[in-house]
């Protein structure tokens, strides 16, 4: 089975690609990796739901089209079909609006030993974020 790599803010996810829509993957695998699943009220992640007009184009139940998912949730995307990789991210206008709130968005990244660390692990403390490169 061809492996499809999907890159988003939470990292790289590898899925077995199936013949549904443009970039079909198992709905269960997609929900496990991203938290998003198709419910009667729309695409949902936790408390948040996005209405889906054309449910049939999104999913046949067992499978979901990641490209259609990106379109419906208003995400930017780049697809390299010949290399079976796609990346989705935030639109500039949405990023600008979230920056303007001054709410510090959470992120989770591995430390040098591979342990995952989140900004939210440091709640109720002052935080200095230093971005640098080892080159």
């Amino acid at each position: 089975m061809t492996q499809l790599t999907v890159i988003d803010e939470s990292g790289s996810h590898s899925f077995g690609q199936v013949g549904f829509g443009e970039l079909g993957v198992s709905s269960d695998d997609f929900a496990r990796a991203t938290g998003w699943s198709l419910k009667p009220e729309g695409l949902c992640k936790g408390e948040i739901c996005v209405p889906v007009r054309d449910t049939a184009a999104m999913s046949n139940g067992a499978q979901i089209d990641v490209a259609e998912f990106a379109r419906v949730t208003g995400r930017n995307m780049v697809i390299d079909a010949s290399r079976n990789v796609m990346a989705m991210g935030e639109q500039a206008s949405i990023r600008a609006a979230s920056m303007a709130t001054l709410d510090a968005p959470n992120f989770t990244l591995p430390d040098i030993n591979g342990n995952l660390v989140s900004l939210r692990d440091f709640a109720n403390r002052k935080k200095l974020i230093l971005a640098w490169s080892s080159w």
């Binding site: 290399r83 991210g89 303007a100 001054l102 510090a104 040098i112 660390v117 200095l128 974020i129 230093l130």
Partner: protein, 178 residues
Amino acid sequence: MKEWATKEPLSYPVLIDAMHIVADLYGIVNVPAALWIDENDKIVRPADSTPASDMWRSFSGVDSAVHHDLLRRWVRHNELTMDADAVRSFQVLPTSEVQQARLHRRIAVSLHESGDESGALEHMDKAEQLAPHDWTIRRGNMPLRGVDPFGEKFMEFVGEWSAAGSPGFKLGTGRETK
């Protein structure tokens, strides 16, 4: 880097951000950069060029002590020199091109990690066409290309960036006027 970061016991985590997620979330356009987040998870100082030392002062024109002093005053005395509107006015907001460039760069990193160098080069080229003056894209790609990030290509980039009016951080903490 691991060797350096484990030489002394550190009181803070050192995180690896190969896909430049934090740059995307917070509008970081170059390194080294710093930003401040308060106890209520509010951004109280936006990303700005803030080297830890004066090692590159003659090149960058940034006096590192200015940021250090501001930081101490915030940590010890809760003194902030910027209100919320000032923080917003100094944020560098992304363009559509930069957001698209980030996606091409992430694909390039993924392909590079899986050994597909020609695929990685193709996506790095696309990212750089979209965001020719973003340091996290242009200079950030240099190690992936096997190019010295302090060498001739880097100086070429600095020339292009200067000719374009040195787009980047708006704040300029510690930037000397001379």
